[in-house]
């Protein structure tokens, strides 16, 4: 991948008296996200008393702490220490999983909402989000955009915004990243499970609500299940974790309906397989390495 290794040191800054913000890089890259995950896991492992939330994001880390228990200077020194330790480099690996996410692209639910939010909201009010995304990426049509969207896997680079929403970074060279502007003004409505895209990031909207990303389809199964009825949610109501790898699988209306029925009767399981993600391999030759990763799903 054309992304160079990180050379700069992180920037440390305060969000009032309860938040330390560590900006690993201003720009998004796989290397930056890896460094964020490394810092988050070291801090989590240290189990520092007074740290209440460790929120790894795309290229930055947000830490909430109780300054009555943990002095800000001690927290900052601790994280800086972890950054020093991590600067040594070496082969970086991540024990994670690859998950197949069925998506009904070009579906009627997002199309209906897109129709309601055109004039004043969208760059091209007369067209669809998919046509617009294809055009700004220099692709021939929506079908080509959809193919580019699902043929290579994505890394969950951050979970948040609302409950369990994954931000996704496609595991391809920077010049092949799909990029689309967000809506000119955010919508007040987005169907639950909308597969969206803004900047270089993909997303799956876990719940219905506001949103500014372009909309391309709907995922067929839930990713947030507060009632924890499905087996994949037995341990926690949120499905995705940072570091998960997502492979979108296009499904037809009939396949979508069949999955919905499985969700309804409680039998749906995500197809997933454990993998060890190796940063260097991903940086060297992403598409070749992606084939290797995706093979892990074939045996499932």
């Amino acid at each position: 991948m054309s992304t160079p290794a990180l050379e700069r040191e992180a920037r440390y800054t305060w969000g009032g008296d309860e938040f330390l913000f560590v900006e690993v890089d201003e720009a998004m890259s796989l290397a930056a996200n890896f460094k964020v995950m490394t810092l988050a896991s070291k801090l989590s492992g240290a189990a520092l008393e007074g740290v209440t939330d460790i929120c790894p994001a795309n290229a930055s880390l947000l830490i909430r702490f109780n300054p009555d228990v943990l002095a800000p200077s001690v927290l900052e020194a601790t994280v800086r220490g972890f950054e020093q330790d991590a600067a040594g480099g070496g082969a970086e690996t991540l024990a994670t999983r690859i998950v197949e996410v069925p998506v009904w692209y070009d579906d009627p639910f997002t199309a209906e909402v897109a129709q309601r939010f055109r004039e004043g909201f969208h760059q091209e009010p007369s067209g669809t989000d998919l046509d617009y995304a294809a055009k700004v990426n220099g692709l021939t049509d929506a079908a080509e955009f959809i193919r580019r969207h699902h043929e290579q896997p994505w890394l969950v680079s951050m979970v948040g915004f609302v409950a369990g929403l994954p931000f996704l970074f496609q595991l391809v060279e920077r010049q092949k990243q799909l990029e689309v502007p967000k809506y000119l003004s955010p919508r007040t409505d987005t169907p639950r499970l909308t597969v969206g895209h803004g900047g270089c990031f993909g997303a799956i909207y876990s719940v219905r609500g506001a949103g500014g990303y372009q909309m391309f389809g709907v995922a067929a199964a839930p990713i947030y299940d507060p009632a924890q009825t499905l087996a994949d949610f037995k341990d926690f109501m949120v499905f995705f974790r940072p570091g998960d790898i997502v492979k979108f699988k296009p499904v037809t209306e009939q396949e979508y309906a069949a999955i919905q029925a499985e969700v309804e009767n409680g039998t749906f399981r995500y197809r997933q397989a454990p993998v060890v993600f190796e940063l260097n391999k991903a940086l060297e030759d992403p598409e070749r390495y992606n084939r290797e990763l995706m093979e892990a799903l074939d045996g499932m």
Partner: protein
């Protein structure tokens, strides 16, 4: 014990001290917007601070009690009526079976709190009873109260003792102007000197676009530095690569209208934050009605920590005045 919801009000939810620890998956801390008022309501009825209360926004509910109850109402100034007769705020009230509790129009502020001796007996979700509407968890089925709901009230360990009324000196003021202390930082370097100056010297007014997620202000606007945007950040100078949002942080999409994130905030996104309201002043924001004129004053991190200590000490004195530990 229980009380019946005859009319739910505009947005009445069950809240407690919040749900820390899940911000990393986008579940906000939640909890009472005005933590001080909620704590005093609990103290007046003899509850520990962690019990859940009802948070009422602007237009209050009508509640009917099926059994005797001890309650207290604190927060924004509002006429409290029991069977149509006015009762005092910030005071322990004894209700009989069949009594109906209702409220007049708010005189100022935005939210008031009803505590019940024994607390509100809904199940904890991820360690909290707070309602998080967007995620559909906590409170009563993860939503605001509806007519016909029954709010289950717990059994009090002992009748409330101690002073029945919070002295005036411990009650918040609800003025038309606020001074809100902030720590500059996060992405403040992205503002021009003039932009920074207008944030800190301008008059900002609370708009009606204010809820548990955030409060939008209108005012003179700010100016961002021009730059080539980093990869993945989006094209507007107020955009960043999506990052975690500090609760209390101020973002100014497009440079015109600041939004301050509050307890049900989205946990992250792509707008640059330029300052953060100190923890001691978060309750103040929760009391700001639309039209409130607001000035942001910069303090250092040390000053923020000092203010936090003063706020804790003030709360401790108020609790002592009520005879609570």
């Amino acid at each position: 014990m229980a009380c019946e919801v005859k009319s739910p009000g505009l947005s009445t939810t069950i809240q407690d001290q919040g749900r820390p620890g899940y911000y990393n998956v986008g579940i906000p801390e939640g909890g009472s917007m005005d933590q001080y008022s909620a704590a005093m309501a609990n103290a007046l009825v003899g509850n520990p601070a962690e019990e859940a209360v009802l948070e009422c926004t602007y237009l209050g509910p009508v509640l009917r009690f099926t059994e005797p109850a001890t309650i207290a109402v604190t927060g924004a100034p509002v006429p409290i009526k029991v069977n149509g007769e006015e009762r005092p705020e910030w005071t322990r009230l004894g209700l009989e079976a069949g009594d109906e509790l209702s409220f007049g129009p708010l005189r100022a502020g935005t939210r008031y709190y009803i505590a019940f001796a024994g607390g509100i007996d809904v199940p904890e979700v991820l360690g909290s009873r707070s309602t998080y509407i967007l995620g559909g968890i906590g409170g009563l089925n993860g939503r605001k109260l509806e007519a016909g709901d029954v709010v289950p009230v717990g059994q009090a360990d002992a009748p409330a003792a101690g002073a029945p009324t919070l002295p005036e000196e411990f009650r918040p003021a609800y003025g038309k102007e606020q001074t809100v202390r902030v720590v500059m930082g996060l992405y403040d370097h992205r503002l021009t000197a003039a932009g920074r100056e207008s944030l800190l010297s301008g008059e900002w007014k609370v708009t009606p676009v204010a809820d548990r997620m955030g409060i939008r202000y209108s005012g003179p606007g700010v100016e961002w530095r021009e730059r080539e945007q980093p990869f993945g950040a989006g094209s507007d100078p107020s955009n960043i690569v999506d990052a975690g949002y500090a609760v209390g942080s101020i973002q100014i999409p497009g440079g015109t209208q600041p939004i301050i994130l509050h307890r049900d905030a989205v946990s992250g996104g792509g707008y640059a934050m330029v300052a953060t309201v100190i923890s001691a002043d978060m309750d103040l924001l929760a009391r700001a009605a639309p039209g409130t004129s607001t000035h942001f004053v910069e303090v250092t991190l040390d000053e923020a920590l000092e203010a936090r200590k003063e706020r804790s000490a003030f709360t401790a004195r108020a609790l002592a005045a009520l005879g609570m530990p």
